[in-house]
Amino acid sequence: MEQVKRKLRVATTSLAGCFGCHMSLLDIDERLVPLLDLIELDASPLTDLKHCGPCDLGLIEGGLCNAENVHVLREFRRQCQTLVAVGSCAITGGLPAQRNHLDIRDCLQTVYLTGVGVERGFIPNDPELPLPLDRVHPLHDVVKIDYFLPGCPPSADAIWQFLNDLIAGRTPQLGHGLIRYD
């Protein structure tokens, strides 16, 4: 009976991010075709599956700005053998973390009550909405992260190099031009 090499099962998600890292993943263009011979997607914005089953690899974009982000991150950590923080926000908190020196109550009041052009405003309190955290955190503040792929976003070439190294069982190495913090 013919042995078929098992595909790596991969989940991705965007927490407090802008989906730019996912766009950069798609930006590997025609290389997606050979990549899909090697991997199959589990939970991901690309499959619209909301919950993550057991996976070999989890790619997480975005940092942690609310309680739901932490919940999803912990689910990914439970289910993924290898967890990767992708992009500036996942690794440093990034743009959302620029509010970290402000009081969260002041932020909400300014945005929903006192800000320019706000009329009859109120601070949303629907129980469906996840509560914001007082500070935005990088992923490694909460769970163990196995690899970090920096960039805002990491370039398609960096993502391609990283995934190829990982799929081949090598420690990912980003040389000059591929390792970037911006």
Binding site: S88, I91, A97, D141, L174, D182
Partner: protein
């Protein structure tokens, strides 16, 4: 080499010649060997504060920017052990300040960033402190963004020794150490700093920014987009 004797030390097994009075870092760079470093500037007296240039000389760790080269010394630099310690120092600096590279005008020309790339630093590793450091925009031509300061003291020395203005100083100790402006108000607008001052051009990160222009060089054409810091630092410093 007035006495005719050729003075050399061994750097990672390679023979490095030196002139009397040269430090290990100066001699290494002059000979075309890159030793990662951050607060060293060829025009100013080295003071060994960042420790990124730490090497082992005959088995003992020391800052190569302040240690005089000596004949027949055995110096280790790019070992995995020392590079791992250097990565730790870079990670401390990234997590103690607010280094949000995507919005920084210095990105691509930043020494801290470039040394991070050189050493393969992909994460701050430690829990970031997110300190609250308001910027000083009081000067008509210059913006001071304290969030990015790594306390290298180059602006302090440049302003005191070259510009003779003493605009900057460091204050406090340990984790509370910070850059201050030498004016009664504490504001940059009340100092004689001018855009042509030496202090304007020595910051290795993005603290001292000229107003009225931003992101002047496109991504891809910036200093460390074109080549790694190890490739750039060595030929440029051959005259040292």
């Amino acid at each position: 080499m007035s006495d005719g004797a050729r003075r050399t030390f061994a750097l990672d097994g390679l023979e490095v010649p030196f002139e009397p009075g040269q430090t290990i870092l100066q001699a290494a760079l002059a000979a075309g060997h890159y030793v990662p470093h951050l607060c060293f500037h060829p025009e100013f007296r080295p003071h060994g504060s960042c420790r990124v240039c730490t090497v082992k000389v005959n088995g003992r760790t020391t800052a190569s920017c302040t240690t005089p080269a000596r004949d027949d010394d055995v110096v280790e630099s790019r070992t995995e052990e020392l590079d791992e310690l250097r990565r730790n120092l870079i990670q401390f600096l990234f997590t103690e300040g607010n280094h949000f590279c995507p919005s920084c005008e210095q990105s691509g020309n930043c020494t801290l960033q470039a040394v991070g790339y050189e050493l393969g630093v992909t994460t701050g590793h430690y829990n970031p402190l997110f300190p609250n450091r308001p910027v000083d925009a009081s000067h008509p031509d210059v913006l001071l963004d304290f969030n990015r300061c790594i306390l290298c003291e180059l602006c302090v020395h440049a302003s005191a020794e070259v510009d003779k203005k003493h605009v900057f100083a460091l204050s406090g100790r340990g984790i509370t150490k910070h850059l201050v402006v030498n004016a009664e108000s504490g504001r940059l607008g009340d100092t004689p700093l001018a855009v042509y001052d030496k202090a304007m051009s020595v910051c290795p990160v993005g603290v001292i920014q000229r107003k009225g222009r931003g992101f002047a060089v496109p991504i891809g054409a910036r200093t460390y987009d074109r080549a790694s810091i190890s490739a750039i630092a060595v030929p440029r410093r051959e005259e040292v």
